[in-house]
């Protein structure tokens, strides 16, 4: 073998024995194929070769139930609005992009009772309101089927201060599940909440839940 038989990417050594690669581009690598790149494209593997392509997108996984649609709570199948019961959420087209998550509704009423999440970390926003028969309040939070809390407890009503002074009127939560869990928006405390028959569309129009999977 002699040095003048050695080339790299068809480049010969210079007089000092160095092969200068500065004229090469990443597309000159044998297993990389570059086709007219555009700004912000990246190199990715397509299963056979490395190619230039738009960056593989980050998929945001989330659930949205409740978008202000009108439906009477008497259609929800709920038996009461007492503490320990679900506050059901109405949505004719709920969004669920969380892989492995499921939503459970009452019959095919579009009134959602609970949701099941796979292991992971989740951020939660929720809000609610109901009709009252007299000065009162209702408190609710996310609770799993083992009674573990998965969010703060929020309270609304003109007598909310009788339950918690200065409480939040909206639910937030950030929690980690090591295994799959079924969770519901549960009423924890109630005072003078009106009957199911008298709720009309208030609950369907005012209750929502947003859950986002986070890293």
């Amino acid at each position: 073998m002699s040095h003048n038989k050695i080339t790299v990417q068809n480049l010969n050594p210079d007089s000092s024995g160095n092969i200068d690669l500065s004229s090469l581009n990443i597309g000159d690598l044998n297993n990389v194929t570059i086709t007219t790149p555009t700004t912000d494209q990246v190199i990715k593997y397509d299963g056979a070769n490395y190619i230039n392509a738009d960056s593989p997108g980050v998929t945001v996984e989330y659930i949205r139930i409740g978008q202000g649609e009108s439906n009477a709570y008497s259609n929800s199948g709920a038996g009461n609005l007492s503490s320990g019961t679900e506050l059901r959420i109405y949505d004719t087209s709920p969004i669920n992009t969380i892989t492995g998550a499921t939503l459970t509704q009452y019959l095919t009423s579009n009134w959602y009772r609970s949701f099941t999440l796979p292991a992971g970390k989740y951020f939660v926003l929720s809000g609610f309101n109901v009709e009252f028969s007299a000065s009162g309040y209702i408190a609710a939070q996310l609770i799993n089927n083992s009674s573990a809390w998965r969010s703060i407890r929020a309270v609304v009503g003109d007598n909310a201060a009788n339950f918690i002074d200065g409480a939040s009127t909206s639910i937030t939560g950030l929690f980690e599940l090591s295994t799959s869990e079924t969770i519901e928006l549960q009423i924890t405390n109630a005072s003078n909440v009106d009957s199911i028959a008298n709720q009309g569309n208030t609950i369907s129009e005012n209750v929502f839940l947003y859950i986002q999977k986070v890293d």
Binding site: S15, S16, D20, L21, D40, V42, S55, G57, Y62, Q67
Partner: protein, 211 residues
């Protein structure tokens, strides 16, 4: 020159006869950091943070700068868009390049005033829209709407009882075309007025692009 003087990109032959070739020979590399990718910057292939980002992109946000002091006048009617102070010195503000905070007009809300916004233009995509509603006097039932109609639940807030309802309005809008979003007054018993700096401290809007 002898063969043992051979080098590639000034990397010499190792004691086992190998010449390693680094990626930096093929790209315009600066000191790399964890999780960077190789991307094209329009001219060169470079190492950089991934253009994919976090999948949670801030598009618009407005809430009051704590030092702002101003008054407000005029009252809302049903169907009006909520006015939110957007003057540069008065607000903490994010307005991405493909988003526009549209100035208030008497056609859609209480009055025309370029220091206040009445709606936000957004491009196509899926957006998480968040508003913490605050009012001055009276009451207001409101929700997020786009050019295609409502896309959130309602809240009904009362100036004299801030626990009567949640004031958090959250909607997810998936739009295939450019759109305009706003908070719309849907009902009221007693008209609420344009808020001053005090109440405005609890008012905010945030729009984040998902994915």
């Amino acid at each position: 020159m002898s063969h043992n003087k051979l080098s590639i990109d000034n990397q010499e032959v190792s004691n086992v006869g190998n010449i390693p070739i680094n990626l930096s020979s093929y790209i315009s590399e600066t000191t790399p950091s964890n999780n960077q990718v190789i991307k094209f910057d329009g001219v060169n292939w470079i190492n950089s943070d991934s253009p994919a980002g976090t999948g949670f992109k801030a598009k618009a946000s407005v809430f009051l700068n704590e030092t702002a002091i101003f008054g407000g006048s005029g009252s809302y009617s049903i169907g009006n868009y909520l006015m939110i102070q957007k003057a540069g010195s008065r607000t903490n503000k994010i307005e991405d390049v493909d988003v526009t905070l549209n100035p208030a007009t008497a056609t859609n809300t209480i009055k025309s005033n370029s220091n206040w916004l009445e709606s936000i233009d957004i491009p196509a995509g899926t957006f998480l829209c968040i508003c913490t509603l605050a009012i001055e006097n009276g009451d207001m039932k409101a929700r997020w709407e786009s050019d295609s109609g409502g896309f959130s639940h309602y809240v009904h807030v009362y100036a004299n009882n801030n626990t009567l309802s949640s004031s958090l309005i959250v909607g997810v809008l998936n739009t295939t075309v450019a759109n305009t979003v706003r908070i719309v007054v849907k009902d009221q018993s007693t008209a609420s007025g344009l808020i001053d700096d005090g109440d405005h401290r609890a008012l905010s809007v945030h729009i984040l692009k998902l994915g």
